[in-house]
C-alpha cells in the first residue's frame, strides 16, 4: 500500500515518522535498562544469605534470564558480570549502553518531549556515565541498580504527568509495554521451562530450593508483594503463572502489558486516521483477547515453552506492523495528488 497524502491544518498535530521511531526506541531502551538493573539487583540481594552452592546455581538462571551463555568468560564471577552488564560499552545490552541509546534517541526528538523529561534523561545519563566499576563495587552494586531503577521510574512518571497524552506519548507507551511484554514472557520461559535454557547437567543436580526460584522470578517482576496480597506467601507455580501471565491489573503481568500496548496502538490509530493504522492495533487486540480469556489450567497442561515463545513471536509481529504502518511505509506516487 502506498503513502497517503494528507490535508491538515496547523492545529492538527502530525508526527514525523522518524520522531515516532525515536520515541518508541527511547522508551524501549529505558525499559530494557530497568529490567536488567532489576534482575541483577534481585540476584545480589537474594544471594546475600544463601550458601555458596545455591548462589552459584541460581546464577545459571540469572545468566539465562539475561540471555548470556553460561560459559562466557566476561561473566564468570559477580564482579565481571556486573561490569559487563552494567557498564561495559562493548556490550550493547549493558545498562550504560541502553541508557546511552535512549538518550541519543531523546536528543533527536528533544523538542517533542517536555523539558522536565529531557532534564531527567540527562541526569540519568550523567549519573551512569560517571560511575566506575570499582567505586560501584566498593559501595555495593545494589545502590547503583537501585538508583538506575528509581531514576527511570521518575522519567516514566514525568512522561505521564508532563507530556500531552497524544500520539507521542502513545508511542512511548507502546515502546515501554512492548519491551515489557517480551521481557516478561522471556523471563517466565526461563523459570518455567529451564530445560530449554539451562545445561541438562545443571538441572539434574539442582540444589536451589524451589521457593527461592519462584521468589526470584516474582521479585524480578516487582511482583512479590502484589502476589502475596492475592495468593498469600505460598509460592505455587500455577498461581504464579496465572498472576504474571494473565492478571489484568498488575502492571508487570503480560496480560496487563499487552492491554496497555493495545490501548497505545488504539490511541495512535485514532490520531493518525490512516487506513493503514488498523493493522498493528488489530494484532495487539487479538493477542490481548487470547490472554484475557485464557484459563491457567489450559495453559499449564499444554506446552508452556511454545506458549511463551508464541507470545514473543506475536509481539514481534505487532512491532513489524507498527513499522509498516507508521515508519517505513513505501512512497508510491499517487496520480490524484499534484
Amino acid at each position: 500500500m502506498g503513502a497517503q497524502f494528507i490535508e491538515t491544518t496547523m492545529h492538527t498535530p502530525v508526527m514525523l515518522s522518524r520522531v515516532a521511531d525515536s520515541l518508541y526506541w527511547m522508551s524501549r531502551y529505558l525499559e530494557r535498562a530497568k529490567h536488567t538493573a532489576r534482575l541483577l539487583n534481585v540476584h545480589f540481594d537474594l544471594m546475600l544469605d544463601q550458601p555458596h552452592g545455591t548462589a552459584e546455581q541460581y546464577r545459571q538462571y540469572l545468566l539465562a534470564s539475561l540471555q548470556l551463555p553460561s560459559d562466557y568468560d566476561k561473566t564468570q564471577d559477580d564482579y565481571s558480570l556486573t561490569r559487563w552488564m552494567a557498564l561495559d560499552p562493548d556490550n550493547s545490552n549493558s545498562v550504560r549502553a541502553c541508557i546511552g541509546v535512549a538518550r541519543e534517541n531523546a536528543r533527536q526528538v528533544r523538542e517533542q518531549i517536555s523539558s522536565e523529561m529531557w532534564e531527567q534523561m540527562n541526569q540519568i545519563f550523567l549519573f551512569v556515565e560517571q560511575v566506575n566499576i570499582d567505586a560501584m563495587w566498593e559501595s555495593t552494586p545494589q545502590e547503583f541498580f537501585q538508583n538506575v531503577k528509581t531514576s527511570i521510574h521518575l522519567f516514566q512518571g514525568l512522561a505521564d504527568s508532563t507530556m500531552v497524552h497524544g500520539q507521542g506519548w502513545h508511542f512511548i507507551q507502546a515502546g515501554r509495554f512492548m519491551e515489557r511484554s517480551i521481557a516478561t514472557a522471556a523471563l517466565m520461559d526461563v523459570f518455567f521451562c529451564p530445560e530449554h535454557h539451562l545445561a541438562q547437567s545443571t538441572i539434574d543436580d539442582l540444589q536451589v530450593p524451589k521457593y527461592l526460584l519462584w521468589l526470584g522470578l516474582l521479585r524480578s517482576c516487582t511482583a512479590f508483594e502484589a502476589y502475596c496480597k492475592i495468593y498469600t506467601v505460598e509460592l505455587e507455580p500455577r498461581s504464579i503463572l496465572e498472576f504474571l501471565g494473565l492478571n489484568a491489573e498488575f502492571p508487570h503481568a503480560i496480560n496487563f502489558s499487552v492491554q496497555a500496548m493495545r490501548r497505545a496502538l488504539q490511541g495512535i490509530a485514532d490520531t493518525t486516521q490512516s487506513e493503514r493504522s488498523e493493522r498493528a492495533y488489530r494484532r495487539a487486540s487479538r493477542l490481548h483477547a487470547d490472554l484475557q480469556y485464557a484459563q491457567v489450567d489450559e495453559i499449564a497442561t499444554n506446552d508452556l515453552h511454545a506458549y511463551f515463545t508464541g507470545i514473543q513471536r506475536q509481539c514481534t509481529g505487532i512491532h513489524d506492523a507498527i513499522y509498516q504502518s507508521y515508519i517505513t511505509y513505501p512512497i508510491v506516487a499517487d496520480p490524484s495528488v499534484n
Partner: protein, 509 residues
Amino acid sequence: MTEKTVFSQQQRMQTHPVDAQPVPVQADEMFQAPFTHYQLSAAYDEMFAAPNQPHSHYTQLYERFHELSMEELERRQLAAERSFLHQGITFTVYNDNRGTERIFPYDLLPRIIPGNEWETIEQGLTQRITAINLFLHDIYHDGLILKDKVVPADLVYSCKHYRPEMKGLDVPKDIYVTVVGTDLIRLPNGEFAVLEDNLRVPSGVSYMLANRRVMKRVFPNVFVNYGVRSIDHYSRTLLASLRMLAADRVEEPTVVLLTPGIYNSAYFEHTFLAREMGIPLVEGRDLVTHNNFVYMRTTSGLKRVDVVYRRIDDDFIDPKVFRADSILGVPGLFEAYRRGNVAVANALGNGVADDKAVYAYGPDIIKYYLNEDAILQNVETYLPDDPKQLSYVIENLDKLVVKAVGESGGYGMLIGPHSTKAEQEEFRTRVIANPRNYIAQPTITLSNTPCFVDGQLEPRHVDLRPFILYGDKINIVPGGLTRVALRRGSLVVNSSQGGGSKDTWVLNS
C-alpha cells in the same frame, strides 16, 4: 578595483596594539573589592569609566555586587553551570576526541547597553540589512551595482558562495535575509563597528534566550527595577517572519526547521527553536519531493511543507543541484523552490553578501541603494587581490588580522601580533598563492567587560551579535549574544575556539 572604494570612503581607525599595557594608576585609584583584580587598559571598558567609577548604566549593578561575597558569586556561578548541564544546553566541537558535547561557558555578570546606544545600533542594522537585501536581489537579477562599477563584478562572480542557480529566481516577498546575526565590536573610542554579517545560517540566538532564563533563575533580585527590555518575543517574531514567506494561497502554512541532525554543532539550538515555535524539526530524510512539491513523512502519511527554515548550508541542501554526495539534504528541494512551491529561509546564495571581501564595500552598498551614509562603520579592510594592497598586507603580517573570506567560526585566521614567525610565513605563502581568498584588517582591541574567572573578576574582551529578523518589517530583539574571549588577552570569541557568553541587557533608557 579602485583604491578609493577601500580606503577613502571608510572612516580610518587607529590601530591598537593587542595586549595594551594597563594604564598606570595611583594607589588610591586601585579597584575596591570585589574588583580588586580588575584593571583598565587601552580597550574601551564596558563597565568602568575609571577605577571605582562605573558608567551610569552600570551603577546599580556595581552596588549590588559590593553586597555579594566572592563565595556567593562562586555559588551562583556553579548554580548557573549546573543548570546548563542538566538542561543539556551544549554545543558540539569538532576535532575534540573527548566526546563531542560541551557546555557553552557562561559568565555571570550581564553586559549592559543603555537605551540610547541601542537606538543607534538598531537604526544602523536596519539600514544595513535593508541595503544588503537589495544588494542580493540586484546581484541575482539586473546587477546594476556591478554595471555601475560600485562593486567589482569580478569580486562577486569569483565568490565561493555565489550561486549561478539563483540568477533570475524570484524569492518569496523579495526577502533573502529572513534571519541575520551581525557581529559588532566596540572600538577603543566607544563607538560600535560592524565586524561581519552572518547571512546564511546564523546561530547563537538560543544562547541569548537561554542565558536570560538562567540569569533570571540565578539572580532574580538583580533584575528588579533595572528596566531591562524583554527578549521573549523572538520566537514569535521569527515564526511570523517565516510564515509570511508562504505562498498567499496557503491559509495555514506548514513551517518546518530543517536540521543536519544531532551531530551538528548547533543542534541544541535547532531543537530549542523548533520547540519554542511549535514547528516540526525535520532532517533531510524526513522530507520527500513529489511533483515538485515538498512533503514530510508523518505517521499519518505525507504532509505538504510550505516553508523550510533551513539550518543546512547551501552546499548540502539538495544533492541534485549542489553537492551530490550530501546525505543531509533533500533531492528535488531546489526545483520545488525555483517553481515557488516551497519557501526557503534564508534564501540560497546569500553567502555572496557576507563574503569578507565584499564586506569591504558595505558603506558603498548602503550609499548606492539608500543614498545614505552608513550609520555603523566598517572596520578598515585590505584586499590582497589588489596588488598594491597585497604588498602592504605581506609586509605587515605581524600587525594585521588575516582571514579567509569564505570561512566562519574563527577558523582559517591569523592574528598577527599573537602569531609566530612560522605562522606568518605560512600565511604569506597562502595569501600570495590565492589573494582573492583573503582579507586583512588592523588588529583591533575589542572592548573589555568584567568576567568571573577562577574566583575573581577580571577584564575579558567581548563582541555583540544582535539578531535581525526581516519579516513585515525589520525587527531586532533588544539584546543579542555577547560573546566572551575567556582566555586572558584573547581576541577570539567564537564558541568553537573556547569562547563563552553572557546575558546582554538593553535598558529602556
